[in-house]
């Protein structure tokens, strides 16, 4: 993969990142199959060039943008983030990307916009998992506008100094480090600004288990398992579990977004 130049960021954790091997061989990307090894095995079929992203809804400059239009003149940063899956495992990933807020400012957010909706590519002939209705394709995710504009929220185009591997959501994906991993939608083809809370895939699949906010929260369990602790991938056979941090440890930056909300209700 092509090398990417990126400057360091003050938001990076100093925790040691997982190996490239771990990050690229252990993925939930149901478009390529249900097993965590399926994306690494199947994603090579995905065509990521050309790639365009449709930006529509309540924006000043809607349109279908080529990926190069979105990244031209954008200074990339390395963001070493903790990543916490709703399945109670965790990694540390050295993403490369840019703030979603910068892109939204460039296309111009209209005053009525309150939410941002995202969609993943649908292309069953290259994404074998989409040939079965395990989820309601396309994969959909969404953020409240203030979450989307937060400086921690990035669009990633690379990791470990290289272009994003296909199994990790090439060529462009969302990364929201204080939310469970399923919020960080991969291989994005559409970004819509809306005035109402968008439908999101896992919430549609099981609203009791997966909320719209999906903030990492050790005090609100998944109905079928505890979220109090997590297993760090790559820590070894006998490492046991570590405590899960509120907002995945990003509370100092993001807790204010939810002031006055009951996070047991808005889970």
């Amino acid at each position: 993969a092509a090398r990417l130049q990126a400057r360091p960021s003050r938001y990076s954790t100093d925790e040691a990142p997982n190996s490239f091997e771990d990050i690229t061989s252990y993925n939930n990307f149901y478009e390529f199959g249900l097993d965590k090894s399926d994306p690494a095995a199947n994603a090579h079929r995905l065509t990521v060039n050309p790639w365009s992203v449709r930006i529509d809804g309540l924006v000043e400059r809607p349109g279908t943008y080529d990926l190069s239009d979105l990244t031209r003149g954008v200074a990339l940063e390395e963001r070493i983030y903790r990543f916490r899956c709703v399945e109670a495992w965790a990694m540390v990933v050295p993403w490369i990307g840019f703030e979603l807020g910068a892109l939204l400012n460039r296309v111009g957010v209209k005053p009525g916009a309150r939410f941002v909706a995202f969609e993943t590519l649908v292309r069953p002939d290259e994404m074998p998992g989409q040939r079965r209705p395990v989820l309601d394709w396309p994969y959909r995710e969404g953020l409240r506008l203030d979450e989307a504009m937060h400086p921690l929220t990035i669009l990633a185009t690379g990791l470990y100094g290289e272009e994003l591997p296909k199994q990790n959501g090439a060529p462009i994906r969302l990364v929201v480090p204080w939310k469970y991993g399923f919020k960080s939608i991969k291989s994005i083809v559409r970004i819509s600004l809306t005035d109402r809370m968008p439908k999101t895939t896992w919430n549609m699949q099981n609203p009791r288990e997966y909320g719209f906010y999906a903030n990492v929260n050790p005090n609100v369990d998944h109905p079928r398992w505890s979220q109090a602790t997590e297993r760090r991938i790559g820590a070894g056979l006998f490492a046991g579990r570590q405590k899960t941090q509120m907002f995945n440890g990003y509370g100092e930056y993001v807790a204010g977004l939810y002031a006055g909300q009951d996070l047991r209700v808005d889970f």
Binding site: N18, E21, D22, S25, Y26, Y30, L34, K36, S37, E87, W89, V134, L135, Q205, R224, W225, S226, A228, T229, R231, I233, G234, L237, F238, A239, G240, R241
Partner: protein, 223 residues
């Protein structure tokens, strides 16, 4: 009959030769390789986990492999009686070994979960057993197998007498159902595999139930 009489006879006529040959082969094959495989497989898994051959999350991989093989063996063990009744295929001599290896895998599955996955956080382990229905189902399955393993010897069968022994060993249906439900309940989305095991177990239980309804519960042969 589960399959209509003429149909069954037709199948037997066609398959009789093959069934006879398999039965003859089964008579000459010893059961100890099943126990040996039951020892080698977990050792191999552990070796793969240590050397990185199980991928980024060896704990889950071991846990799943042991759980899935335990369930497969239980399904296999449940298939032996219907196979004998419907196909005249006699694999009875392997049933104890299959059951004991299944129980051994269930124990290792539980230990992998408690020690490696949960890191011996007893508070969270206890809370999960009490609060998480899929964990509860798994524990029910494990507990149901304990008396079966404990009475698996020839002397236990003699001591209990065949009728009481068979009645006790109907618990295997509880264990099988609990194991299949445990698997169905823990997955995300709708993968096929757990539903295949659940379907097979329900099918075998339906066959068994028909048999009992026909011949009477008390007279029921090999549980």
């Amino acid at each position: 009959m589960w399959i209509s009489e003429p149909m069954s006879r037709l199948m037997l006529a066609g398959g009789a030769n093959l069934v006879d040959r398999v039965n003859a082969l089964a008579r000459s094959v010893p059961t100890w390789p099943i126990y040996l495989a039951g020892l080698i497989y977990p050792a191999l898994l552990f070796w793969q986990a240590i050397t990185g051959a199980l991928g980024a999350d060896p704990v889950k991989a071991m846990e799943h492999a042991l759980g899935i093989w335990a369930l497969r063996l239980i399904v296999l063990g449940l298939a032996i009686t219907p196979a004998r009744r419907l196909l005249r295929l006699n694999l009875m001599k392997f049933r104890r070994a299959i059951g004991l290896v299944a129980f051994w895998f269930v124990c290792l599955h539980f230990l992998t979960w408690a020690v490696l996955d949960m890191g011996l956080l007893w508070g969270q382990i206890a809370a999960d057993i009490a609060k998480r229905p899929y964990v509860t189902a798994g524990i029910v399955g494990l507990l149901a197998l304990i008396p079966l393993a404990a009475t698996s010897t020839d002397s236990a069968i003699r001591r209990m007498g065949p009728v009481r022994w068979r009645r006790l060993h109907r618990l295997v249906h509880v264990a099988a159902l609990a194991g299949a439900i445990h698997y169905v309940w823990l997955v995300k989305a709708w993968p096929v595999e757990p539903f295949i095991y659940l379907g097979l177990i329900l099918a075998f239980q339906a066959i068994r139930l028909r048999h009992f309804l026909r011949i009477g519960w008390q007279a029921g042969s090999a549980g």
